[in-house]
């Protein structure tokens, strides 16, 4: 009678190894995709907060830019999922009549920055 043999431990381990490599690769792709989606979603939240703050900063008179609050004055509830985060504004003179206003949102180990240029229009606020 033909002898029925089972699989040896080495055979089973080899099969498991192949299976693990296939599933791990698939999972790695899945995780990488999730990470990128996460990064994109976080960036969108950060940019919404920055865009809102820009709307306020573009209306502050040119001469008063440095005296304005260095933290965001708009509501940052949209950034709640990124907590803990820091939302800051820095003003740096570029030339005699130009200032660069840089708005930053930092969270975890990431930072998103947008810089807008303000020009001294003599108080007309038209630019």
């Amino acid at each position: 009678m033909k002898r029925q043999r089972g699989f040896s431990l080495v055979e089973v381990l080899a099969a498991l190894l192949v299976l693990a490599v296939v599933i791990t690769t698939t999972m790695a792709m899945f995780v990488e995709r999730q990470k990128r989606m996460q990064a994109a979603s976080e960036t969108i939240l950060a940019y919404q907060a920055i865009a809102n703050e820009i709307e306020v900063r573009r209306r502050i008179p040119y001469a008063e830019l440095e005296q304005a609050d260095p933290a965001f004055v708009t509501d940052t509830t949209i950034l709640k999922p990124l907590a803990p985060f820091a939302a800051t504004v820095a003003v740096a003179p570029a030339q005699g009549y130009v200032k660069v206003v840089t708005l930053s949102v930092r969270w975890k180990n990431r930072v998103e920055r947008v810089a807008i240029t303000r020009v001294d229009t003599g108080g007309s606020n038209l630019w």
């Binding site: 009678m1 002898r3 029925q4 043999r5 089972g6 699989f7 431990l9 089973v12 381990l13 498991l16 693990a20 599933i23 791990t24 999972m27 995780v31 999730q34 989606m37 996460q38 994109a40 979603s41 976080e42 969108i44 919404q48 907060a49 865009a51 809102n52 709307e55 306020v56 209306r59 502050i60 008179p61 708009t74 509501d75 509830t77 949209i78 709640k80 999922p81 606020n125 038209l126």
Partner: protein, 170 residues
Amino acid sequence: MVKRAHRSAGFTLMEVVVALAVFGVFLWIVVILTADMRNWEKRMPINYMTHPQISAVVSRLRRDVEDATQPYYLESSNGFNMSEKTLIVYRLMQAGTVETVVWDFSTEGTVTRHSFTSIGGETSKWTANGTPTFRITDFPIPGSPDSVRIQAFDKDGKLAIDQIIQPRTH
């Protein structure tokens, strides 16, 4: 010579334990990775900006408000009244004419944009479906009291869209 009885070869307990241990470690890694992702998903609102219809609503609304001209907003027009669910914008068009645009958010899951000529005839109607709950409020900015704030909440009530828009100088 005595013939050896047929031995059915199975796994020993040790073999099964080793194989399961290897697979168990692997499963543990998978569970850790997915738990991390689920945690993140719970914290984050739905990313509506990846939904074409919803990003179209936000873009068109932004354009309408940025193009708004005096008196910017109307209390009522063509049977609509300004509210948290209705925005009535008086906007300047490229040809130099004006039109009244009504953004109607009053129907859950639907956003409708109506545009009317200055004498009241409806010139276009555009509807977006599958939308979240929108809310329109004013957001006075010093030097720009006519700014509006558009917010949208996902089905769990998490704030997903929050945009402040102010009319541009023409």
